[in-house]
Amino acid sequence: MGDTDSVLGRLVGSPRARLAALLAPSGGLLVALLFAPLSFMVAVSFARVSDASRIIWHPTAANYTALVDATPFWSTPFVTSLLLSVGIAAATTVVCLVAAYPVAYALARRDRGRRVVFFLVLLPFFTMYLVRVYSWYLLFGDGGVLNDIATVLGVGPVDAFGFGVPAIVVGLAHAQFPYMLLTLYAGIEAVDFDVLEAARDLGASRRAVFRDVLLPLTLPNVVAGSLFVFVPAFGSFVAPRFLSGSTVLLVGQLIAGRIDSFNIASASAAATVVVVLIAAAFGVAARYTDASAGGDH
C-alpha cells in the first residue's frame, strides 16, 4: 500500500499530472465538440451521397475536384463565393480597423467618458444579432429609410443604399466592431506613452510616431483583432442573406444551402477547404505576431 500511495502521490503531486488534470475538462470539451465533429466532416467530405440522400462510405476525392471543376477553375460557384467572401471579410476588417483604432487610442489616453463609450460600444451586444441585422435591413434597400431620406433631399435613390455588398460590409462591421475595439484597446492601453513622447521630443512627426513606434508596438493586437473580425465575417450567412437581397452567395451561404439540400458530402468538402484556409491564416498570423513580438519589442 505504501508503495502504491507513494506512486499515486508522485503522479498527483507532479506538475505534469496537475497540468493534465487542469487541462482534461477543456481538452475533453475540445475533443467532443470540435475535433470529433471536424473529423466526421472531413470523413464525409470523402464519401458520396446516394439519390436517396444516404451517405455511402466509399472513399472518393470527387467532392473536392467538383469544387474547382470548371475552366477557368475560379469560375466555379465555390471559388467565386470564396473569393467574394474573402473580399467582403477583408473590407469589413479594414473598416473596423480604421474606425476602431482612433477610438481605442482615445480611450487608452483618456479616462474621462471611457465607461460611457464602452457602454455605447457594447450596447448592441445586448440585442439579438438577428434584430440588429434586421434594423440594417430596414435602413437599406430601394424602399429603405436611407433611400427615402435621399429621395426627400433630391439626391436619391442612391445605389449604395440599396441591398448589396456595401450594405453587407456595413452590417458586418457594425456587428464585429466591438471585437476589434476591445482587442486594440488592450494593446494600446499597455503601451508606455512616455516612449511616444520621447519620440516626439526627438523630432519625430506624429505620423512617424504612429508608423514607427505605436503601430509596431500594437501590431499583435491589430493582427488578433483582424482575425476576430475576419473569421466570423468570412463565414457569415445571416447578414449577407438579409442585406444583399440574397443576390450574392458567400461561401457560408453556399455551404448552408448544400446542407439544406442534403448534399452534405459536397458541403463537407467545401467546409473542409474553408477550415484549412482559416487554420492556415491563423498559423501565418501567429507566426508573424510572434516574430514581431520577439524581434522588435
Partner: protein, 392 residues
Amino acid sequence: MSPRQPDASDADAPADTTSDAGHPHSTVGRRSFLAATGAAASATTLAGCLGGTTGTPTINVLTWEHYARDDVAAAVEDAVDATVNVTKSISSEKMFAGWQAGKDQQFDIAIPNNNYVPKFAAAGLAAPVPVSDLDSYPAIYDFFKNAMDTQLAVDGTPYGVPIRFGYYGYGYDSRAVPDHDPSWSVLFDGIDGVDLSSAVALYDNHFKAMSAAALHLGFRDAFDGDRITLSESQLGAVTDALIDQKQSLLSGYIAGDASFVKGITKGDFHVGHTGRMNVTNMRADGTDWIEMATPTEGALSWFEAAVVSTQTDHPDLAWEVVNEYIAPETGATLAREGHAPSVNPETTAHLSERRTELYGAIDPARLADMIPSKAVANEDAWRAAWERVKTA
C-alpha cells in the same frame, strides 16, 4: 434541468431576511426557498414522466405556419384523441433535410409540397398511405385522387395525402405597375414603357425560380410526365435567362411569403414572384393595391401533401390526424387561417360566402389548365445551375 442543490456555502450562510436596502422582509429563508423549489421541480418532473406514459399521446407535426394556429390545432384535437404539437417550417427542403438528419424519429407527420413526397418515399422516410382508413378521402376532388396515384406514388403505392392547394404567379403593386397582359415575361423582360429595373423579385428557390424561367422561355414540354425534365441546353438557356434578369430587373431573391409581403410593402420591389394565397392574405388584411397575375403561359400549381413517418410510434393516430386536416370542418378552419382552398370541396359548407368566393371554391379543374409542380428529374443539375446564377 435539475434544481440547484444547497452546497456548503449555503449551509454556512445565515438565512437571508434582509433586502439589499436594509429593510427587513419577513419571507422564507434561502434554505427553505431552495428546498421548496427543489420539491416543486421534482414534483413537476415526476408529473411529466407520468404524463408521458399514461396521458394523451402526442402527435408531432412538421409543417407550415398556418397549421400551428390555435384554431386549427384545437379543431384537430377536438376530433382526435391526441395532443397535436406543430413545429413550423418555412420550406419543404428544410423539412426533408431535417427528416434525413434523423427528425423522422421526432416527428410523426410532415406536410411538404407535393414535389417532395417522392423524395421522402425514396429515402424510406414515408409510410404508404392506408387509403381505405381515411374517411375523408372519398370526398376530395378527383384531381387530387389522381395525383395521389401518380405524382405522390412510387411504384403505384401512394405515400402522401393532398391537403390544400394553390398556384404561383406574380403579384404586383398596382400603384406603380399598370394593367398589362399577365406573362412570366414580365419578370424577365419587364413591361414596355414601364421602368422595372431593380424592381422585380424572384423566389430564392431553385425549383420555383427556374420553373418560372423555363415557362417564360416556352419550355412547356419539360413539365409533362411524372417528373419535370429540362435538357442540358434548356437548362443552359434557363440559367442565362436568370443571370440576365439578375443584372437588369432583379431587386432581390425572396425567401418566402413573409419576405414578399415585407419587400413589396416596403417598396423594395413592385413585382414579385408569389403564390395566390399570399396575395389573398394581403387583400384580406386590407392591402387593396396588391394584384395577382396568372401568367398566360401557365401558372405553376402546387399542393401540400402529408406524409407519415415510418418511425412513428402511433401510425394509426397519425393517419387520423392527416384525415382530420381534410375533414370538412377542420379543412375549412385551415382554409380560413391560410386563405388557401382545401382539397375537400365539402369544406365550403363551413365557409362564409365571401371566404368561399376569395379562396374556398377554386375549382381544381382550373389546376388542370395549369402546370403541376412535380419532382425534378435532374435536380442536382438544377441546383448547380442555381448556384451559378447566385454567384454570377
